[in-house]
Symmetry: D2
Subunit: 135 residues, 4 copies
């Protein structure tokens, strides 16, 4: 599993006083970009140098408790499932009081950048992701 911490900023919140629900998705994507660094790749490298891209085809979030500015969230990612062309990340968000405040999932599919069609998940990426599967 991979974990990172983030402090909720004013721009994550809305006039209801808590984070705007779409920003939970932004925060988990920030964590996804950090797991790519941890893998030894980087989002920038994938965007610019690789032949494939991993667009999100499905995303979902559960909101379990209010999150507001100044909260310190620990976002943990594990790899949920690896298929032939796709895989999923599963995220938990826990606040500074050890309260589970949110859960999320993103499903990514491997796309060839030139043909824009689905391709087999490259072996290097598959092997890197397997380290984050929870047993």
């Amino acid at each position: 599993m991979f974990s990172c911490q983030t402090k909720v900023k004013l721009h994550h919140t809305d006039a209801a006083g808590v984070i705007f629900f779409a920003n939970q998705f932004t925060m988990i994507h920030d964590a996804y970009e950090m797991i790519l660094d941890d893998i030894g790749s980087s989002f920038s490298e994938m965007l610019n140098d690789k032949d494939f891209f991993l667009p999100i085809v499905h995303a979902e979030s559960d909101y379990l408790a209010p999150v507001t500015v100044g909260d310190i969230l620990t976002i943990t990612i594990k790899v949920g499932n690896i298929g032939t062309t796709s895989f999923s990340f599963e995220y938990t968000l826990v606040n500074q009081n050890k309260l589970l405040v949110g859960k999320a999932q993103t499903v990514h599919v491997t796309i060839d950048k030139k043909t824009k069609t689905k391709i087999k998940l490259p072996d290097e990426m598959r092997q890197a992701l397997e380290k984050y599967i929870e047993n």
Copy 2:
């Protein structure tokens, strides 16, 4: 059903050239705020004047085709399910070429603003929502 149109702006997109996935959630929330106007209420009124609030406890999106700056999206909302304390909206996003580019769902629960606890969905809201259930 309720429909509205929106033109994808630069700020919805990211360096991959298409909309950032979290912004599909922002766009459906914009549509949700518009359906409240259609109902004869408004988001502002709910935020400031009502005793209850309807926070999102679950949200999900499917991404079916690339969406980019300048695309004109028709977002259609129907009410998927109405329970005792909660209900769901189901969204479809269709582009200017009649292509279904995305689907989404939000689940809302009724919260008493003072006690912060779940309460029965008010009758006025239930009746308003029932008009948007697809038969």
Copy 3:
């Protein structure tokens, strides 16, 4: 002058109950994308089909009165100054009560997309912009 209307959405606001200051910049850029449609070009066309790009090299905003969710803003743009390689837009934001709530400016410079260097503002763009200079 060019004017457009926008309704402030929840995602524009923050936990202080009013729009997050950076979102006034997002809103004026939305208006800038609309003036390009009015000119007969479009942001999408400029991004994808033109040899030049008009990046913002300076932006500023004044915040004169609180703006909150549900407010209906009329954003008016005029062209402030046209130089050899650059020009500026000047924006005013007026709410539903005719109150001037904000002012803003963006300065754009013409860049050749291939060489990434400053070039002369194309005549077609200069002529289009001249229509929006206030006399």
Copy 4:
């Protein structure tokens, strides 16, 4: 002076491949929230517990070089000027190659939360800010 580092995320960028100009403002506000922690206060505390608030009445940015996903920015803040009711922050953004990529300024005014009128900057805040004035 106060400095912090931030890694540019995908959500900061747009389809032109670089950060969306409004997001430079979001990033400097993140840094402002961090300087409040450094002062020994916090944005959350100011929002919830203090009698005064420090809304931004003017903001401006210069964009000196392209910034893209994965760039590591060092944001440095100094206090530019302290008046009776207001003060300014001046920001510089330097990338991983020591290149100055942006500059920014925010002007804040002290508002009494109840009366919503301008008041004298509290002494505690004045003293805290004075430490960040460059000599």
